[in-house]
Subunit: 347 residues, 4 copies
């Protein structure tokens, strides 16, 4: 079975595994108070060009979103997100569990539009009853989005301007940040840091075994932050495991190099699909490819390739996701393309 | 100033006040363990033709919605509601505060459509990822809705069938129940009880000083219900105040009689508006009337009449709400119609 | 049956009822935006000598405690209270429901000791692991306490000094504030306001039908306070009902006069009990009297007098509470003393 | 620096690391739906002799406690624990954050006494006001306790009988389960499973990199369990990492063998301490040793040995914890004993 179902089907990059192995029996203090964490944080601060950034390592994405949103909002606040945003749709209500409404505005191929955000905010404050409504306390976007799309620098700047006008922090969910930056032509780590109030660098989907690095960029770390992380069940006893991994990922630009692999292998697949008349559900520049296939073809295709079910397209067709990853080998792409040959005139 | 802004601008019906006055210095146990509450419950059970109903009195609507939804759902559950539903839009996130997502489906003049509910539920269970999504654990509707519209008996039966197919309790928010039933041609108290799993009879907006009577109709009272009410800050020390009021409202059909007054006075106003070419925003059979007026006219109108701002219609027009109540006098209607004369050809 | 079980067994003081009756059909805006509330707030500000106080009216005690504590604390904070404090023991977990731990220190006849508070705080900060523990974010005391005892001015000043040393707001639960101040020899409304950061004036137990007036005394009103009140299900639609009641209670010193009645009638009972050899469980200067009676005597006593069960004393004896109120008549005291005659040599 | 501060200062047992390395590039489905998890669960079910056990793997201890307690309790429930229990004292309020009170009863060297538990429960139900109090919904104990002590089989059976009498599930926190069972003379895995309703097998502190295996033993898995795990931010994307680790730990009795190492090395240290007149704070049979040392000695001792600060003993003395682990080598023990020589007549 070929695996193109997601970008977290394997363990971790060999360099990360090597670092974990080599440091395995070193004794360190717990809870992130170790030198590996310190080193990783320094490397990240340098690459994002944000010397005053305050960085914490957590284990997974939903946990990170819950912690960031809950720790930065007041009780009365909700978080504004695209209706397709991960926090709105696929986190089992983790945000509401922590007491906060996810206020949705339309997602366009996963992205929010600055003018629609502004329009929502303007209408909210114009409404005499707004004290009876959940207060917008933060804007959440994902980069890249759940549909693999990315904001241009100009789009992000415009969103940030709206946020600033309404005094709202901007949170960028970077579960797949590497894939976004590798695909972007006009964005850097430093831009992400400059344009957000808080963001995270996803490890789980980009070469780490697990782990996400939360970065507070504007001197805005929540109070009693360790207590809050612990309270969310998110304080890893052996915090050093996260430090070791991010230290490896941010040594010799590894994080970006392996992200590039996902983009390159995805590009090969997209080129093939385009040249062979496959139907795209939407156009995505990163490692997630969404195509429409007929259910009949999927019956046999699914026996050879593990892909992601996305949604029903119509009675006879389904949207599927093909995802490459840091770990995707060109040989596997070859195999995939060979299998796809069978379906090219078939749907 | 004429008050047509809402149905809770006055205190309570004189009969309710009389009952409160006459019982004022009687000593009773607290927390609803008194004979007034017992008597009121018996009267309600009779009128809703549901001898096994279990009834609790709470103080206000948002409190009641939060208590009912939170006490009947598991952590993993959300409540399905129209996007215009009170719990979705105007309760300051009280439902999310209690940990539950309000899952919205489209509201049509305030009402949900059974087939859209079914479609949402079918898609939910068909989605392989549904364990990563908030589980639909209850359906919430309001009767009448926030737009003054009411479901026909047939519509309610169809919604109930969908609920039963998916094993979901149906909760009917009856903050204005009296006005709905007084306006309905095919619905009775007993129908509401039979078609719902839990509902409440609104007192605050229908003749009581305050108070809502929650009715669990199917032997489905939540466990440790008093503890849960207390935990929500909703257990009134002098519970007898609620018993006394509902006892008065359910003596000699008072609740329905005073509800009818709101319907009758609203009918007079609607007739006038129709005959004089005012523009309706939507058609509502109950005590809430939504019309579109030009902003210029509202400038002077607002100096004479207190109405409800609803929403911006376009740059030059606004949707306003005119609400009658149990307390509306025909003389006040006369005055209103006289004032409206000035605007009839004006917008 | 004679009622001495609690101070909320009757409705409200006749003057309060009169005010509610006279204003019953006046139309006002909802949610506390009315002139009655404004007037009541002005009167309270004057009597507490705190012109910048910010005042909100809520319905009941548990609701008020939950709102005040939750709106003033961060997620990471708990509230420090006596282990016998109402929030610790008898609010069905309403505080924990809102996410906050009640951190208990010993209660001494209901009161906390400043030095024990200080010792707890010093140890907390001296503990290297304190980030793994709930942060003390507020100190809660009740005045009078759940045992009817009151702090001296000096005791309160010392507690306040500890709070200030550790930068903790002091919250005084005044569910029975009138009874405390009427009994105190050295405390005034103004002292309560000056020594607390937030407190509330209890109406439910002191002459109102229902209602508590929360006073933020130090320019420290929580953000989006109306949204937060609503979110807790605590925003009364007809807020004017609370304004009317507190306006009446704070006209012509009514609140204090009727509080004095409870103290005077309690004094008569205590004098009798002392002179006749009844055993006191503790000494309380306010309206709650705790005595130890033998279970055998209680069997017949309970048929004539409604009293409060407090706790088991030993196998054969029980602690009971006899409470007077704003409404207690001397005639009822006469009857009680006559009944007690039967038990004076009997336990 | 010698590390005896805790049992989570190193990475993982070499066999665990080997298993992670060898499976690193295998592609699997996410979220625990993989063969490694299935295999690990089968091995655990066999060793605990509980074929119908339902097992889930989580990342850390606080997270696990929060998930287990919150998913098994109703809103109205609290969890009964020793006042020194981890959930009561050192989890940053994670339980209260999820809405539940930790109801404390006295800990005796970390253990609760069955008769005190029973006494609390009897008094609770005898109290007429118990509906106004948090309902006891579960009993939590740790095995071994936070003080390294263990319950005898007879003690556990008696606690279980009390739980059954009051229909309360018994939850055993086994963060250090291996160390407890290795030290016990009369307890087995199967006893833990039989005597509890839910327990967890700690990996983080016993040879895994991270991970805890939650076992529901009585067909009592909470509803929508995956949704609830996700909602707590506790569903690891690469769930296989946990399966691989527990599979290794439960192959060839590894978990118990490495636990035994901690017990054996601790025994050597305790023998030395006893023979040399060191003062024990309490007697513990497992891997945690609590001794009292004078602050003067600790000044220099702390430069050579990392130990755990426990609590102030008196002005001049401190309780410290010396912990061995699965990873403790006899050579390190030799070094420790040599260092301790300097202090043996010194405090």
């Amino acid at each position: 079975m070929l695996y193109f179902s997601c970008d977290y089907a394997e363990g971790c990059h060999p360099s990360v595994l090597k670092a974990l192995s080599e440091t395995n029996l070193v004794s360190t203090p717990g809870y992130g108070e170790d030198d590996f964490c310190r080193s990783a944080k320094e490397k990240i601060k340098k690459v994002i060009d944000c010397p005053n950034a305050d960085i914490y390592f957590l284990v997974g994405g939903t946990q990170t979103n819950q912690f960031v949103i809950d720790s930065m909002l007041g009780n009365f606040d909700g978080v504004v997100a695209a209706d397709t945003g991960h926090v709105a749709a696929h986190e089992a209500g983790a945000i509401e569990y922590s007491g906060h409404k996810v206020i949705t505005i339309p997602g366009h191929d996963g992205k929010i539009h600055a003018e629609e955000l502004k329009s929502y905010l303007r209408d909210f404050y114009a409404d005499d009853n707004h004290e009876h409504m959940v207060n917008p306390g933060m804007v959440y976007i994902s980069y890249p989005t759940e549909y693999g799309t990315i904001y241009s620098k100009n789009e992000l700047e415009t969103i940030r301007m709206v946020c600033q006008e309404y005094d709202l922090p901007l949170f960028i969910d970077g579960a797949r940040l590497g894939y976004g930056l590798a695909a972007a032509t006009d964005m850097t780590y430093a831009d992400i840091a400059a344009l957000s109030d808080v963001f995270y660098i996803g490890g789980t989907k980009v070469g780490a075994m697990f782990g996400e690095a939360v970065v507070f960029t504007k001197g805005n770390t929540p109070k009693h932050v360790i207590t809050q992380i612990k309270q969310h069940g998110a304080l890893l006893a052996k915090g050093r495991l996260l430090g070791v991994q991010f230290d490896a990922l941010f040594t010799d630009d590894l994080y970006m190099k392996i992200s590039q692999n996902a983009i390159d292998t995805a590009a090969r697949i997209k080129t093939y699909l385009k040249e062979n008349g496959f139907k795209f559900f939407l156009d995505s520049p990163t490692n997630q490819i969404f195509i429409v296939m007929c259910n009949k073809a999927l019956e046999s295709f699914s026996k050879e390739v593990a892909y992601g079910f996305w949604e029903k397209y119509d009675e006879d067709h389904t949207v599927i996701r093909i995802a490459t990853a840091w770990s995707t080998e060109n040989q596997a792409v070859d195999q995939l393309l060979k299998i796809l040959e069978k379906y090219k005139n078939n749907c």
